[in-house]
């Protein structure tokens, strides 16, 4: 039987989800919950949520009139009237409530609002992942995992064997040797795995604003793909004239002053795929972000690598061209020339500013690959 509070809680969560849906575009575009992300939860600020509150009555503020009274005498209205001290503020009050939402819920909302098709993982689930499950019992372990029922059963068995168990007065007192603890077993389970490789141009022409756009977009891509795959790996590659693999923190906070050679990032990416992610076992997603500047004759070299080494091995290759103060914006033209606008695996998106992130995510993930 469900408790009343469960129903209230469900209703509250429905309201929260409704509010998130209403404001999703704003959350997506402005990345308000990034930085508030926990391992499995994100805190979302909801400015217009009406929280239930007590409504005070009129106690002590006059009431039913008594006695004769005089004509024109008002019924009491509480304490004295008059002007208070200080002035009213001119700004609206802030009523921001933060609610925790699981990444799974967030992905579901994103998927339904953007009408994203569910992804069909390619190939079979060949990767064996070790999973720990608490389904065995041991004689030793931490007290926090003590299995009380088993411990008392053991104590009872011992007392019965020893002849100290009294049916009339069934007291079971465990001793140290009776204690039993929950323990885990690891079992290999097949699962569909995916790897996302992010590549970003960090040359002098990419400013912090562009990187912030990339970060917001990557957060939503992660959230969606995480909901579609059991195991999701993320790798990060930055490049200017040279490329290297870095961690997530470095990826978003590095600015180099070097030139721009996109092919250098493709080389590192191809090497990473060779060494760690076979396309037979992994669903491979490649996301590249740049301002479209590429030096010299590098575009033809980059196109060659992309055509031969990256696109055939990936589920999707997504290129997001972020508009920067300088970016020549020419690279997307080269990609269009090489792959066309309706390529099955190559998806191109121009992100003019933060407001374009929403549509860009839809473009990238709308294929259901």
């Amino acid at each position: 039987m469900s408790l009343k509070i469960d129903r209230d809680n469900n209703r509250f969560r429905q309201i929260v989800r409704g509010k998130i849906r209403e404001n999703l575009r704003r959350y997506v575009n402005h990345g308000e919950m990034i930085g508030r992300k926990g391992r499995d939860l994100v805190s979302i600020p909801l400015p217009q949520l009406d929280i239930p509150h007590f409504r005070y009555g009129q106690n002590g503020r006059g009431g039913v009139g008594q006695g004769e009274g005089e004509e024109g005498q008002p019924i009491a209205r509480g304490d004295g009237e008059g002007e208070g001290t200080g002035q009213a503020g001119s700004d609206p009050g802030q009523h921001i409530v933060e609610v925790d939402v699981t990444l799974e819920e967030l992905a579901e909302i994103l998927g339904s609002e953007l009408e994203l098709p569910r992804i069909e993982p390619k190939g079979t689930d060949q990767i064996q992942q070790e999973k720990a499950r608490y389904r065995s019992i041991r004689r030793v372990g931490p007290e926090s995992l003590r299995h009380f029922k088993r411990t008392y059963v053991e104590a009872m068995k011992r007392q019965v064997i020893e002849g100290t168990y009294n049916h009339a007065s069934p007291r079971v007192i465990p001793i140290k040797g009776d204690r039993r603890y929950r323990s885990w077993e690891t079992t290999p389970e097949p699962q569909a795995n995916a790897v996302i490789i992010y590549m970003m141009d960090v040359s002098g022409s990419m400013t912090d604003e562009q990187k912030s756009i990339v970060r917001t977009e990557a957060f939503w891509i992660d959230t969606w793909l995480r909901s579609q795959y059991d195991g999701l790996e993320r790798r990060y590659i930055i490049h200017d004239a040279a490329a290297k693999e870095v961690d997530e923190q470095t990826f978003y906070h590095t600015r180099e002053s070097g030139g721009t050679r996109i092919s250098s990032a493709y080389k590192v990416c191809a090497k990473l795929l060779d060494e760690s992610f076979s396309p037979d076992d992994w669903n491979i997603y490649l996301f590249q972000f740049s301002d479209g500047d590429n030096w010299g004759e590098d575009s033809s070299k980059a196109m060659d690598l992309l055509t031969k080494a990256l696109v055939p091995r990936s589920n999707l290759f997504c290129y997001g061209q972020v508009e920067s103060p300088y970016g020549s914006g020419e690279y997307i033209g080269s990609l269009e020339a090489a792959f066309g606008q309706t390529h099955e695996k190559v998806i191109l998106s121009e992100i003019k500013d933060k407001d374009a992130i929403f549509e860009s995510i839809k473009t990238f993930l709308g294929k259901g690959k």
Binding site: G204, G259, W295, P325, G329
Partner: protein, 159 residues
């Protein structure tokens, strides 16, 4: 003969051919060669799409030397529409790319100078990039006095 009279004479000569170009301006200087494509010349001003100073002095320059030249130019070229500073430095190819910092932005998009310092050449162009479209070279309008000073500063930066 100093640089200014040489340029003055050549501009007058090209202007006498036709006011609107394109005109190819080529002047051999002491340590190098000035090449420019002028789209307009009149008695007071001119417009160029391509401006390059080629010199053998930079043939074996290291990237640090090119950086020094870029910094010198950044200080000297204070009279253009926007100040110019190094944006990208490619150690491998030995190239320093300088651009207007900040670029000029308005409703029509972004406009900026791009000055590329490479081994053997300094090259200046002005670009326009309408929002959401590919950039293209546009004419940079300067007075004749500014044009002459530009040449002098390029030569001085390499010297």
């Amino acid at each position: 003969m100093t640089i200014k009279p040489q340029i003055h004479t050549e501009l007058n000569r090209l202007a006498s051919l036709a006011a609107t170009g394109p005109h190819a301006l080529c002047i051999d200087l002491v340590d190098g060669r000035l090449e420019a494509t002028l789209t307009q010349i009149d008695p007071l001003a001119c417009a160029f799409e391509y401006f390059s100073y080629k010199t053998g002095k930079l043939a074996n320059a290291t990237v640090d030397q090119l950086k020094d030249i870029a910094n010198t130019l950044s200080t000297r070229l204070s009279y253009l529409l926007e100040s110019i500073s190094p944006i990208e430095i490619d150690d491998e190819a030995c190239v320093v790319q300088m651009r207007s910092n900040p670029p000029q932005k308005d409703d029509d998009g972004t406009r900026y100078y791009e000055l590329v310092v490479t081994r053997g050449e300094l090259n200046l162009c002005r670009y326009s990039r309408p929002s959401g479209r590919v950039r293209r070279v546009v004419s940079a309008n300067v007075t004749r006095e500014v044009f002459e000073r530009l040449v002098e500063d390029f030569v001085a930066a390499v010297a």
